[in-house]
């Protein structure tokens, strides 16, 4: 759709519920996938809660959109960076997050992990390396 390929970073910083930022951020990612850019997602601060498994929103009467993250692999979103310190500060670990994968068509459609834990310093370098940072 476009000749220019840029490094897109979607930076998710807020809890999944309480405000609509997380859900509307995901809508941009899904629409943006049609533009064939080099896409990464980053989750920092309360944003790490967006990826937690077992979300149940029945009590707050809101749509549970967390299953949508599992579809990201089908949208060619293969790089999901989660900041290690943000998890630790909230008493969370990788085991508390959904297991997100993408299928590598060059490797007999093997499922590969999308989530990579990175340190705060590494996250800073990822942001620095991006051409465009969508901050939500």
């Amino acid at each position: 759709m476009s000749e220019t390929i840029k490094q897109f970073l979607y930076l998710n910083r807020k809890a999944p519920y309480g405000t609509i930022y997380a859900w509307e951020s995901l809508e941009v990612v899904l629409i943006g996938a049609a533009f064939d850019q080099d896409v990464s997602l980053a989750f920092v601060d309360d944003g790490v809660y967006q990826l937690t498994k077992g979300q149940d929103t029945a009590g707050i009467g809101m749509k549970n959109f967390s299953p949508t993250y599992a579809a990201l692999g089908d949208y060619e979103v293969k790089k999901i960076f989660v900041e290690k310190e943000s998890l630790e500060e909230r008493g969370l670990s990788l085991d508390d997050l959904q297991h997100l994968v993408w299928e590598d068509e060059d490797d007999d459609y093997a499922e590969k992990d999308s989530i990579k834990l990175v340190s705060r310093d590494e996250m800073a370098a990822i942001m620095d390396g991006a051409d465009v940072v969508f901050s939500f």
């Binding site: 930022y21 629409i31 943006g32 533009f35 850019q37 940072v133 969508f134 901050s135």
Partner: protein, 130 residues
Amino acid sequence: MKFAIQVNEGPYQHQASDSAYFFTKAALEKGHEIFRVFFYHDGVNNSTNLTTPPQDDRNIVERWAELAEQHNLDMVVCVAAAQRRGIVDEGEAKRNGKDATNIREPFRISGLGQLVEAAIQSDRLVVFGD
């Protein structure tokens, strides 16, 4: 330089729209190009014609509209965010069976692809919000 601007917060409640306005105005006055201003989340509320602030306060909606008219600025309101929050133009009113419109022209309602395109086409995307 060519800028894309994203406004994520509504008027008055939050300073983001004011800051985005002053940034956009200053950039234009310095001879930079603004490829597009994209209004998302509660930022879509910056486009309602029905806003009526006290007379001794700034009129944020009118101010954006005037800047756009002066500089032929493209101001796009996200359709999905607008539908949730009741920002309606004639096309949307017809499509969704509503009996009123409230968008202040030259704001226009369009899709998120306009934000992604703006980010691709511009040298910088500057996001205003929390």
